[in-house]
Symmetry: C2
Subunit: 341 residues, 2 copies
């Protein structure tokens, strides 16, 4: 059986109340006594029963998620995961509120962050647009000892406590290698569709992609990046234009959202044009396109994992506990048509 507070009290030769004062860092314990208790705790290997502790304190964790609006499937999925988490909130002693702000809108994001100042929050999670004003607003919350976690996309320079998302440089590199290897030794152009260079995840994916392409697949040339603002309709028109402008395009890497538009553009030129395509985010549209051969590979981050990880981290930070970095690592999923879940 696992040791309890009673065992500590007996081992240290003090009362339960004193053990409690030491454990919860309450005042009223002499230094020598405190050390005696701490020695006993180490010696018998006591570990607090978190379930019982939570039951006793009945604490709740008020949490805010700041999510961008936009009708692309990835953000839909993310919002739905957060909502799903609100359904479990009574079990997890959380109270989750969702705040929506326009995508890529720095001042709106800053306003949303500043509105949270002075609130008694256990944590704030945000999909960050990477700008100095945002760093500052985040740091203001951090200064107030509110745990802040970036979700999906990180901030370059800020005191945020944690980033819950994939390694986007690695994702870009992986995309490049898949595309490069799938294209064998062929020569040709590659077009890249991004959402916006204002967000760090897209910049990093491009960075990793370009690096591997340049170093290992010199026969493939990158065309200027198309910025589709994660908007299906804009993505469709940009890609269509690019495909008709250059007949040398043999590969496409879509590193943002709005793939519905990309897929429409691809289908319009199929099967005349043979294209190898790697995209990000598994949605109903990319899944179907992967199945029918329009897309060759999908890189994915599991939005559900990210949301749950973010919540775990915020709760841990709010309790002043450390997080197990390895356990909170978000994996990059690679889907071909054969291993779809």
């Amino acid at each position: 059986m696992r040791p309890t507070v009673h065992d500590i009290a007996a081992a240290a030769g003090v009362s339960l109340a004193t053990v409690d004062r030491v454990l919860n860092q309450r005042p009223g314990v002499r230094l020598v006594t405190r050390e005696k208790v701490e020695a006993a705790i180490r010696q018998i290997g006591y570990v607090r029963d978190v379930a019982a502790a939570n039951l006793a304190k009945g604490r709740i964790y008020p949490i805010v998620f700041i999510l961008p609006t936009g009708d692309n499937s990835f953000m839909h999925g993310l919002r739905s995961e957060v909502r799903h988490a609100t359904l479990r909130s009574s079990f997890e002693r959380t109270e989750i509120r969702i705040v929506e702000v326009p995508a890529f809108d720095v001042s709106a994001l800053v306003a949303a962050l500043d509105a949270l100042q002075g609130r008694d929050l256990a944590g704030v999670a945000l999909v960050a647009t990477d700008a100095p004003e945002v760093w500052a607003a985040v740091d203001r919350l951090v200064y107030e000892r509110i745990p802040v976690v970036t979700l999906v996309s990180d901030l370059t320079d800020s005191a945020r406590h944690h980033y819950a998302g994939i390694d986007n440089i690695a994702a870009g590199r992986t995309a490049a290698r898949l595309l490069g290897r799938f294209l064998g030794g062929h020569d040709g152009d590659i077009t890249v569709l991004a959402g916006s260079m204002l967000v760090r995840d897209h910049r990093e994916r491009l960075e990793g992609f370009s690096a591997v392409m340049a170093a290992e697949f010199p026969r493939l040339r990158l065309l200027p990046v198309l910025e589709g603002r994660d908007d299906p309709e804009l993505a469709r028109s940009l890609v269509s234009k690019a495909l008709s402008a250059s007949k040398d395009i043999i590969g496409v890497y879509s590193l943002g959202a709005g793939n519905r538009g990309l897929i429409a553009a691809l289908k319009a030129v199929r099967p005349k044009r043979e294209l190898t395509v790697v995209v990000h985010e598994l949605t109903q549209h990319t899944r179907a396109a992967l199945m029918d051969g329009t897309i060759d590979a999908v890189l994915n981050q599991d939005a559900g994992h990210e949301v749950r990880s973010a919540i775990r981290v915020m709760k841990a930070k709010a309790d002043g506990q450390s997080v197990i970095a390895d356990q909170e690592r978000i994996r990059l999923d690679i889907f071909l048509k054969d291993n779809l879940p």
Copy 2:
């Protein structure tokens, strides 16, 4: 605030004791009363506080893991994950015992299973060798109402409650597509290294691999399967022999363990021979080989996830609860040199 048993009692107009009888399916409640209570439970949306319930019952779950011996890295990793779980056992109210049996040894496995009959166990997890005697032994345990979970490799025909492992047909198909696409349109032979056709995971991987190869990459021919018994030394010699016997081999798929030997054999012919290689299981050896280019892709199942999932499932079954299938799905990880964890 979340509703409690007291709220149910008040809503149903019965006593706490009656609510408890209904909730824990104890006898002594008339049908009409039981229905009244169940209606109240549904109506106020009561959900049992599992933490408090576990605290109150103080139940422990005795669990046995049956693992094959063998010095390949994958089984080492699996054993170490199970041991790691034993360290957490006091938190999770489990009491885990590990039983080791020789790999691919049907009668030893049956003996180990039968030795567990009549014990009061919350669950048995085993890496199964797929044979009728094993199906029968597993079914004997199931008949005694002991939850049984297969780990890594499943059984064809048995009443085991759950399988904690990847979809091996999908894994084989994925390997085929990666290898096929990486080899462009080239002609040549593919050699397949397996552990043993006695285990279902290896058979299924081969099945999926062969199917996609035949259907989509007709210019690649499969050579007869090499059975390395997951033994590094045997694997090395088999692969070396095969490579010198046929100069047409341009690809290798290793679907079992013992990759240390495969890698040694590959390094012996490098860089003269250009080979595209896809293997299973990320270990220190395959990781290094992926980094240095000896291997092109690694398919992986996360042993830690499998062990934790198996434990969750056994506990749920022991409590008569259902498992959330989707949550217990083990994902197939694909690693290229760019996305190693």
